[in-house]
């Protein structure tokens, strides 16, 4: 079995023939349209990370909240790089690892988490 790594990049369709091959510029424009369409979902996930920072700082995170943050960070890590936001994927992945099930973020400073979340928001809003 091959393990294939991917380079960092540049609809609910039913079966059907594609519209024909696009150039890189055309694909970029089509991706921009998808970005705009999915931006509310992406913002909501970033908002969950913001909320997690506050809850962590207050020492008030439940295991359910930690699981939800882990899931949101995982999804962001997979999505942002696909929209050419490789740094966003790095930050989200760091969040994901910090909130993994077997990795309680006791030793992590709230400041570091706040910094990660703030940079993520800037990246998402700046695209």
């Amino acid at each position: 079995m091959a393990m294939t790594t991917t380079a960092q990049p540049g609809g609910g369709a039913e079966a059907g023939t594609g519209p024909g091959k696009l150039t890189g510029l055309d694909l970029s424009a089509a991706l921009d349209n998808l970005w705009v369409r999915f931006l509310p979902e992406i913002r909501a996930r970033v908002g969950m990370l913001d909320a997690a920072v506050a809850a962590y700082a207050a020492g008030a995170m439940t295991s359910e909240e930690r699981e939800a943050v882990h899931s949101a960070a995982h999804k962001l890590a997979g999505t942002l790089g696909t929209f050419n936001l490789a740094r966003g994927t790095e930050l989200a992945r760091e969040f994901e690892l910090l909130f993994a099930e077997d990795c309680v973020p006791d030793s992590v400073s709230a400041g570091r988490l706040a910094s990660l979340a703030a940079e993520l928001r800037v990246i998402v809003e700046g695209r």
Binding site: M1, A2, M3, T4, T5, T6, A7, Q8, P9, G10, G11, G12, A13, E14, A15, G16, T17, G18, P19, G20, K21, L22, G24, D26, L27, A30, L31, L34, F38, E41, I42, H74, K75, A77, G78, T79, L80, G81, T82, F83, A86, T89, R93
Partner: protein
């Protein structure tokens, strides 16, 4: 005849970017499903040439969906490529042991996703 790919992923954004990529860059036919159960049903109905299967999904996850596909004679021989944002080596070993054709990683490059799949499946 263009290749036909089934994409199974619960995340709308990833599913749509992958569909756009494979339809528009490679000219392949794309069928999508937003859950493992729907994916198995669509695989039986559409008989795709390959399946791109997300790992982390609520309900029936990627590995469980893969096992269902292998159990059914109608889908047992369809090549399956896992798509995952998991980067830890323990996860990668676990996925490799399932018997899938390949493991592709999120984030993917929409310009080259089809090339990766074609390369793994010998479609070039």
């Amino acid at each position: 005849m263009p290749h036909k790919i089934l994409i199974i992923d619960d995340e709308d954004d990833i599913r749509e970017v992958a569909a756009l990529s494979l339809e528009s860059v490679a000219g392949w036919d794309v069928v999508t499903a937003n859950s493992g159960a729907q994916g198995v049903a669509r695989a039986i109905e559409h008989q795709p040439d390959a399946i791109l299967l997300d790992v982390m999904m609520p309900g029936m996850d990627g590995p469980s969906t893969f096992r269902e596909l292998r159990k059914n004679p109608a889908t047992a021989k369809i090549p399956v490529l896992l798509l995952t944002a998991k980067v830890q080596s323990s996860d990668q070993r676990r996925f490799a042991d399932l018997g899938v054709e390949s493991v592709l990683f999120k984030p993917f490059d929409p310009m080259t996703l089809a090339d990766q799949i074609a390369g793994v499946l010998g479609w070039k």
